[in-house]
């Protein structure tokens, strides 16, 4: 493996869906699981940031994405130290900050969990350029259609690739190293 020695990596080395031209990092402020404000652009400056919108009742897509990212970061401790994984719950009615924390701790206690009002969350989704979550169903038994892709911002502050559902572990392993080396 020569990945660790590469200096001038480019988006051509990525196996995710390359965003061309790269898009700027969105600016939004939400609330983290400790109740403190979290300014996404400020907190992730100079780091590899992985942004994902989901909800805790989601059993199918969300856990797979987060588990795969956690596994790759376990393998790449140097990358993990400079990476911020940010999970935004788009379901504030059901997902309390403590529940979001418990959920993320099952994958990696370093993962950041965010919540906010519905309006704040819609603004954040729009700022990140993803489809805004839609709630379907009645009572507490509703499902949430939400953006299924993980958005990756390299340390240069730009979104170079997105990861729809179905990414292989090997692709995460490759891309997180490449992204960490971009603009760092």
């Amino acid at each position: 493996m020569l990945v660790g020695c590469q200096q001038d990596v480019s988006s051509g080395d990525l196996q995710g869906l390359v965003v061309d031209p790269p898009q700027p990092k969105p600016s939004f402020v939400l609330t983290d699981t400790s109740g403190a404000p979290y300014d996404f652009a400020v907190e992730t400056e100079g780091k590899l940031a992985l942004l994902y919108f989901g909800y805790l009742n989601c059993p199918d897509i969300c856990p797979v994405h987060l588990a795969q990212i956690a596994e790759t970061l376990d393998r790449l401790p140097a990358v993990a130290r400079e990476t911020e994984v940010v999970f935004v719950s788009v379901d504030p009615a059901r997902d309390s900050p403590q529940e979001i924390r418990d959920f993320l701790d099952r994958f990696d206690s370093r993962f950041v969990g965010l919540t906010g009002t519905l309006e704040e969350l819609e603004l954040a989704q729009a700022a990140a350029g993803v489809g805004v979550a839609v709630f379907t169903g009645e009572g507490d038994d509703y499902t949430v259609d939400h953006a299924a892709q993980v958005i990756a911002y390299a340390p240069d502050g730009l979104n170079h690739a997105v990861y729809p559902f179905g990414v292989l572990q090997s692709q995460w392993n490759n891309d997180l190293q490449v992204l960490a080396d971009m603009g760092s």
């Binding site: 797979v64 099952r106 993803v130 839609v134 090997s170």
Partner: protein, 153 residues
């Protein structure tokens, strides 16, 4: 000579009937379930996946139940045109005679609603309710969330 030939034909017919009878018995077999697994619950719900094969006979999955969940629903994850994905509950799902029914992440799954806390490596009994085959108990292993995917490189 003629009688002899007829005799040969009748023997063939008898053998044919026996084979047909065996074929009928085979038609009564339940769908074959493989690769059954449940992703470790990370919230109030968990997803179960498996592959069902019809063994030459179609059937229809009407639902499922398990002691570890309040209810079990058939769900399909569908992709919207703006990069979003959502889940739709289904009343039933058809198994055709000759192609496997695959429940996999990003597609079909059984959603265990209000699931108990489970541990990786634990085996859970889930009863599948087939229209023709009736109740079928399958035992699924609880696996890590990242291990529910098949065909990993």
């Amino acid at each position: 000579m003629g009688r002899s030939s007829l005799g040969g034909i009748s023997i063939t017919l008898v053998v044919g009937l026996v084979v047909l009878a065996a074929g009928c018995a085979a038609d009564d077999r339940s769908p074959l379930i493989a690769e059954q697994r449940i992703g470790l619950p990370t919230g109030p719900n968990a997803a179960m996946y498996f592959t069902a094969t019809g063994s030459g006979k179609a059937d229809r999955l009407l639902g499922a139940r398990s002691d570890v969940a309040t209810s079990v629903e058939i769900h399909e994850t569908t992709a919207g045109d703006d990069g979003t994905m959502g889940m739709q509950p289904l009343e039933s799902v058809d198994l055709t005679a000759d192609s496997p029914l695959v429940l996999e992440p990003g597609g079909l799954h059984l959603m265990l609603v209000g699931v108990d806390r489970l541990r990786i490596g634990e085996f859970v009994e889930v009863t599948l309710d087939w229209e023709d085959a009736g109740d079928m108990i399958v035992t699924a292993e609880v696996v890590a969330p990242g291990d529910v995917m098949e065909h990993e490189g």
